[in-house]
């Protein structure tokens, strides 16, 4: 018998892997600046749904993985995702009772903070050619939040991840 604590571990890992693939899949150039932060979105969802299982450590590990994928400074996305996980853990009780578009607004802020931190680290490194557009992913992520929520909630209920 699988113990109750570890139910659906595979499903969570799988959603993060899919988020990784979406994070590096090639997009047409005009869409590149608006690539949604799939990994952050997935992390936010699991933090809200299962705050006792997904949190800071998950954010840290995920972020290091994303840094390797994107070839950025090791720790850049880790830093951002740790902060996102922390804020989602603080806010999860409120977020659960918000309406869909209120949630999207909070997601916009969370992803915006994520982008801001990435931008800071990149500035320290000296890579920031066109910093005007860095909030675009926050918009696209917030717009896609209802879809992500729907899919992940469907998965969670179907596989009874708890």
């Amino acid at each position: 018998m699988v113990d109750r604590e570890g139910r659906g571990y595979g499903v969570i890992v799988l959603t993060f892997l899919v988020a990784y693939v979406l994070a590096v899949i090639s997009l047409p150039p005009w869409l590149q600046w608006a690539r949604p932060e799939w990994v952050a979105l997935t992390l936010i969802y699991w933090c809200i749904a299962l705050p006792q299982r997904v949190g800071i450590t998950t954010g840290l590990v995920l972020g290091v993985g994303l840094d390797v994928l994107e070839g950025s400074v090791l720790g850049q996305h880790a830093f951002a995702l740790v902060v996102v996980a922390l804020l989602s853990l603080i806010l999860y009780q409120r977020l659960r009772v918000y309406s869909l578009w209120q949630q999207a607004g909070v997601v916009f802020m969370l992803v915006g903070i994520n982008q801001l931190i990435c931008q800071w680290v990149q500035n320290v490194e000296g890579v920031s050619a066109l910093p005007r557009l860095f909030l675009l992913p926050a918009f696209s992520s917030a717009l896609l939040w209802p879809l992500v929520l729907h899919i992940l909630r469907g998965l969670r209920r179907h596989y009874r991840v708890s």
């Binding site: 590096v24 090639s26 390797v68 994928l69 890579v127």
Partner: protein, 266 residues
């Protein structure tokens, strides 16, 4: 408590990577682990290519074949004199006591990913340390210099394009040998030539080739064509913009250059 610990780890990682640059081996291992993700992400493109290759009509294939045969004939004709010219060049250089001529071997690599971050102009290639790829290796395509390798794992490697903001390449004007440094601007289609004084002889249309100074890039590969020269009498330096010769955003196959000393063979 856990937050503090996580933040400590993160800040430690960033400083270790940025300041001391000592995470290369760890990164290489992680890069190898990450390659399946790129493989999956690359599936749509590859299946599209497969479809294109297999569903092409017979007439089109025949046409392609004829065209390629013609091209091959022309190129063969042009390279007939190459061997004798090269030998002559080596002899003349020996007479001049000039440095030995270097011969370049190439390895074809395929693109398996581009950096998802539009601010980082990096490519992921399907050749790694097991194929002899090394950090600092130059990368070219059919038309010119593309960049250099910055990270190598066992079966993949990451290349930085010449137009990335963190990249610079020593060049010279092919027409008259004026030396300069071409820096990336972060936009795929333009390079900026820095610190060219206002009275330097450089014009739009000039071809910039690698100068070989610095020892990283072999001499003589085309880098860019000068597009615009702005001379402001109030400024100490002219503002020179150039367009890269290589098709940085279109190439799918690239060449990794191995430079070997030819003088030993003669």
């Amino acid at each position: 408590m856990r937050v503090l610990l996580a933040l400590l780890v993160v800040v430690g990682l960033i400083t270790a990577d940025l300041r001391y640059n000592n995470l290369q081996t760890g990164r290489a291992v992680l890069d190898t682990l990450a390659s399946p993700i790129f493989w999956v992400a690359n599936l749509p493109t590859r299946s599209f290519e497969w479809g294109q290759a297999h569903l092409q009509s017979r007439t089109q294939l025949l046409e392609d074949n004829q065209r390629l045969q013609r091209e091959s004939l022309i190129l063969q004709g042009r390279s007939q004199q190459m061997a004798s010219l090269q030998a002559e060049n080596v002899r003349l250089r020996a007479l001049l006591n000039s440095s030995a001529l270097l011969r370049d071997d190439v390895l074809v690599a395929e693109l398996i990913g581009v950096s998802p971050d539009p601010e980082r102009l990096q490519l992921l290639l399907n050749k790694g340390a097991s194929d002899g790829v090394f950090v600092g290796q130059p990368l070219i395509d059919a038309d010119g210099l593309m960049g250099q390798i910055v990270e190598v794992s066992s079966s993949t490697s990451r290349a930085l394009l010449i137009t990335d903001v963190t990249h610079s390449v020593p060049v010279q004007v092919n027409r008259n040998g004026v030396r300069a440094i071409a820096e990336g601007t972060g936009a795929l289609g333009s390079l900026e030539i820095r610190n060219v004084s206002s009275n330097t002889d450089i014009q739009p249309g000039d071809l910039l080739v690698t100068s070989g100074l610095g020892g990283r890039f072999p001499e003589g590969y085309p880098v860019a064509v000068v597009q615009k020269v702005e001379r402001d009498t109030g400024e100490a330096f002219a503002r020179v913009l150039a367009v890269p010769s290589a098709a940085l955003d279109r190439t799918r196959h690239v060449l990794l250059v191995f430079t070997t000393d030819q003088s030993q063979e003669h």
